[in-house]
């Protein structure tokens, strides 16, 4: 993947860049909004990681300008502010996801990869398949190895999200935001508990586990 990091803090930028390169991605860096805008226009990036507060042109203006030019490249907005309103503003400006500093690199990587996946032509899929696990989005049924698995509505949505991002790491915060629509961190490990419930339904009766815990990052559903 080719990723553009638009961030005025050189140290933060090099931290992201190094991490993305280690994960096998190509990462370029722009020091401010104007430079970022030029680079985004000149080359075809899979994902833009844009800091909100920058000299010359701030992140939101840059994203708005790009969106005005029909550029639909997925954008992850980084912000040091981290209040609900800020996130709403960020998404309104055309950002696709919002991450508050400071963050764990694993969190950023998971989100960048999830955004790149979104770029795939959005065919209306009615069926998700991971290994021998199948989900019918119309009939709202889940079958593994020919055996139907009964899930609660929330478990269904949790599994749906995991299956849509199969092969990728999804973090606890991502799940809390995307599946539950909560933007705060409960102190207790609520997500772990829900994952373990789901695991007991989709994995436990079967010989091979699909839902893996990625230490220090989150979870990954993989055949």
């Amino acid at each position: 993947m080719r990723i553009l990091i638009v961030e005025d803090d050189r140290e933060a930028a090099s931290y992201i860049r190094k991490g993305l390169r280690e994960s096998g991605h190509v990462a370029d860096h722009a020091g401010d909004g104007e430079e970022g805008l030029e680079m985004a226009r000149a080359a075809d990036y899979d994902v833009l990681v844009v800091d909100r507060m920058m000299p010359r042109m701030d992140g939101l203006s840059m994203v708005e300008t790009l969106r005005g030019e029909e550029d639909r490249t997925p954008v992850l907005i980084l912000s040091a502010l981290g209040e609900v309103d800020d996130r709403v503003e960020g998404l309104k400006a055309g950002g696709d996801d919002y991450l508050v500093k400071p963050y764990a690199f694993a969190e950023l990587l998971a989100r960048v990869e999830a955004l790149a996946r979104r770029r795939d032509p959005e065919t209306v899929r009615t069926k998700l398949v991971v290994g021998d696990l199948e989900m019918d989005l119309l009939a709202r049924t889940v079958v593994r190895d020919g055996e139907e698995i009964l899930l609660q509505p929330r478990e269904f949505r949790l599994l749906e999200f995991l299956m849509k991002h199969s092969g990728q790491v999804v973090t606890r915060t991502m799940l809390l935001e995307k599946v539950w629509d909560y933007h705060f961190d409960p102190q207790t490990n609520v997500i772990d508990v829900h994952i373990s419930r789901l695991r007991s339904k989709i994995d436990k009766p079967f010989p091979r586990a699909l839902l893996h815990t990625v230490r220090g990052a989150g979870y990954r559903l993989q055949a």
């Binding site: 539950w180 102190q187 609520v190 829900h194």
Partner: protein, 476 residues
């Protein structure tokens, strides 16, 4: 000192008093002046009327008996003294009457004259000392055959009375003005003195001493009210300063522990020369420590924003049952995992104004605590209902140790952690955040004794409730 003396002259109180004194003096001057003019006019009119009648009588006499008849009448009239004055002047210059001569005064348009004459004293004709100048008002009539007749009325007493009245009026106005100024000086000096005391307090507070308070006299007047408000403000400032200092100390204290731990782990990692696994573990734990620190910072930030009213929460009309149901769904498995039984009783069909995210966070903080402090085998219940007072109440009850009565108010403050919870992870900000969220929603956060039974290590439990006003009926 001269500056001080000049100070009260500039005060509003002094100016106000002076102004009202001047207005009072002016208006009394105008009113009494009017009375004076009216009375003086009345004296003149009465004299003129009386003289007119007398002239009429004399005219009739003249018609019936000629000049001799007038002579006789005048003689009769002047024998016993009295206020009437007559003077008949023969063409040759001889005179008859109780007036010695007619001064050379020009009559006005109506033929009236007014002049002073010297009345002989009652005692004797020659007693010069007792003679007095008096005012007479009358009419000069030209009779046929060259006679001139003056008929007048002594108006001296009335005129004197009225002029004394005028003097009294002027004196009274001047006195009113003088009293007004004196009162103004008195009132404003008192005012300035009291104001000075308040100013002194302000100066001392500015210099850094938060102790002094403005003196009060508890009369409820403006200055007393100012002092009261001023003191309340100082109390608030002092409380805020105190809290800030406390918060600062608490932040330092709360951050020192994880920072020290992290430092030690990193130091340890540096010394783990060969053992890569151990080093990695130490680093991972250090990262976890950092996250904990960041979590505390984030909580402080959110709290500050909520308390400053800076976070414009997106308050919308919502169904609290949805929030409660989502929370129940989120926490039920958590409770079960911890060996707690979880139940929820949710009343549907209510509506309130709120921010889903913030309300959920408040409930999550309360539920986190319930899960954290209730020992296995206990019960956690989440309820949503409309109270008797028509409020919407979320409540979470548990059967844990509860919070002693005396500590219930304290735990809501920032960084307050009860001794028995220090071993548990947490920042001491959770309930402060709940309180702030309740405030943003015009709600109430209360902690009470729970339904627990004190036995087998179980406490009385805790009942945490959040009450909010119902949404007004939807328009249209």
């Amino acid at each position: 000192m001269t500056q001080r003396r000049a100070a009260f002259l500039r005060t509003t109180a002094f100016r106000q008093t002076l102004l009202s004194a001047a207005l009072f003096a002016l208006s009394s001057f105008v009113i009494l002046g009017f009375v004076y003019a009216a009375s003086a006019g009345m004296v003149v009119r009465r004299a003129d009327a009386v003289v007119n009648d007398e002239v009429q009588v004399l005219n009739d006499r003249f018609q019936s008996g000629g000049i001799d008849n007038i002579r006789l009448y005048i003689l009769q009239r002047t024998v016993g003294g009295g206020d009437y004055l007559y003077l008949l002047i023969h063409p040759s210059g001889r005179t008859l009457g109780n007036l010695s001569f007619l001064p050379d005064v020009q009559p006005d348009e109506e033929g009236r004259v007014q002049f002073t004459y010297r009345r002989p004293p009652a005692g004797g004709v020659d007693d010069d000392s007792e003679k007095e100048d008096r005012i007479v008002r009358g009419q000069i009539v030209e009779l046929p055959s060259g006679y001139r007749l003056f008929v007048g009325l002594d108006v001296d007493d009335e005129t004197r009375l009225i002029s004394r009245m005028l003097n009294t009026i002027l004196a009274a106005s001047a006195l009113a003005l003088a009293l007004g100024v004196a009162a103004g000086i008195f009132v404003s000096r008192r005012f300035v003195r009291r104001l000075d005391k308040i100013n002194n307090v302000a100066r001392r507070v500015r210099a850094g001493d938060l102790q002094p308070r403005a003196p009060r006299n508890y009369t409820g007047d403006e200055l007393d009210e100012l002092s009261e408000n001023f003191n309340n403000m100082l109390d608030r400032v002092e409380a805020l300063m105190h809290r800030m200092r406390h918060t600062g100390d608490s932040i330092a204290h709360d951050l020192r522990t994880p920072l020290t731990r992290m430092r030690n782990r990193l130091d340890e990692a540096l010394r783990e020369d060969g053992d890569l696994d151990a080093r990695e573990q130490a680093l991972e734990r250090a990262v976890a420590d950092t996250d904990e620190l960041l979590g505390i910072f984030n909580a402080i930030l959110s709290l500050s924003r909520l308390e400053a009213g800076e976070s414009r929460a997106s308050i919308v009309r919502l169904d609290p049952a949805e929030i409660a149901a989502d929370m129940a769904e989120l926490y039920e498995p958590v409770c079960e995992d911890d060996g707690l039984s979880f139940a929820s009783e949710i009343q549907p069909g209510l509506a309130m104004l709120g921010d889903r995210g913030l309300l959920s966070q408040a409930l999550a903080n309360i539920l986190d605590n319930a899960v954290k402090y209730t020992p296995a085998g206990g019960a956690v219940t989440l309820r949503l209902r409309e109270t008797g007072e028509g409020m919407i109440e979320f409540s979470v009850t548990d059967t844990g140790p509860g919070i002693p009565d005396v500590d219930r108010e304290r735990v809501v403050q920032r960084f307050v952690r009860l001794d028995n919870s220090r071993s548990q992870p947490g920042s001491g900000l959770g309930l402060s955040l709940v309180q702030a969220i309740a405030d943003v929603h015009n709600g109430r956060f209360e902690l009470n004794e729970g339904p627990g039974v004190v036995a087998d290590g179980h406490g009385p439990g805790l009942r945490a409730s959040l009450c909010f006003p119902k949404a007004p009926r939807e328009a249209g």
